[in-house]
Symmetry: C2
Subunit: 169 residues, 2 copies
């Protein structure tokens, strides 16, 4: 692991999009971590990541460079809306420096402030070992395994995992 990087995490602003889109596009194009189609259109991803969620955040490094992001939203309507769902992306150049952990810890605090009682990740790709280890280290439990639920761009059909953490007990 490289030295940690000084980052600030703040709410997404529309002016961030020009930096955020290349980051998201590259991540989804790889087809190894998120289900969004590798050839997703910019307008659709902008809606999905920055408009549909309850809130979107960015992690900025030196010079206001956007090096990470997450969204937070209710995972289900009404009687399931006390459980939130988040998605995180970190720029390849900034990986291994604790940014994902910082984003996830930030999101857990935000979640509690927003009134959520638990956090659920619906489709963590089982071959994404870095994420699987990190979520466990941050107190999430694997509560489900979905057989061949993810069509990995290189590996074909692989299992996906459901992670869950209660934030309020």
């Amino acid at each position: 692991m490289s030295a940690s990087l000084q980052v600030s995490i703040r709410r997404f602003a529309p002016a961030d999009w020009t930096q955020l889109w290349p980051l998201l596009r590259a991540t989804f194009e790889a087809g190894d971590t998120y289900a969004y189609a590798p050839d997703s259109r910019e307008a659709d991803i902008r809606t999905t990541w920055t408009e549909a969620p309850a809130a979107t955040f960015v992690a900025c490094g030196p010079g206001e460079q956007v090096i990470g992001t997450y969204f937070i939203k209710a995972n289900q309507p009404g009687l399931g809306s006390h459980v939130c769902n988040c998605g995180y992306v970190v720029a390849p150049v900034a990986q291994g420096r604790g940014i994902a952990a910082a984003l996830c810890e930030h999101s857990q605090r935000e979640a509690v402030e927003m009134g959520f009682r638990a956090m659920q990740f619906n489709l963590v790709v089982s071959t994404n070992e870095r994420a699987v280890r990190l979520w466990q280290r941050l107190g999430f439990k694997i509560v489900g395994t979905l057989p061949r639920a993810f069509h990995h761009r290189q590996l074909g059909y692989v299992d996906a995992l459901v992670f869950y953490k209660e934030l309020v007990t």
Copy 2:
């Protein structure tokens, strides 16, 4: 179990909505099986049940009475879109007569025809014993348990189950 009822299952048509809405409203108002807010608005549920999904079906009893329904849709975008999700509702007066099983078996055939490879139920309320037994009898496996993920209107926070069945192997 009462005698089985002769039903036909066909695609939802807009003219069915006047019969379908009271059925869905009563189901969601009970707050014991679906996450949709008990006070959901008609327009929102119409979109959710009949427009957003890939397809919606109704089960009709004698005299074209709508006594059941289901929707089918992809559970995730892109690289997760080979797994479908369905929701089923049966009128209280028609329960215990095999309608839910008939709808689920119908949906599995439709799913395969539509190109889906597996079916996932994301939030089956653990206290809904009738559903839990039925899905298991129809070959679904409990692949996950979500602690206190459903806010049951009578019982408070209860666990929800994730069911999964591979349709194509």
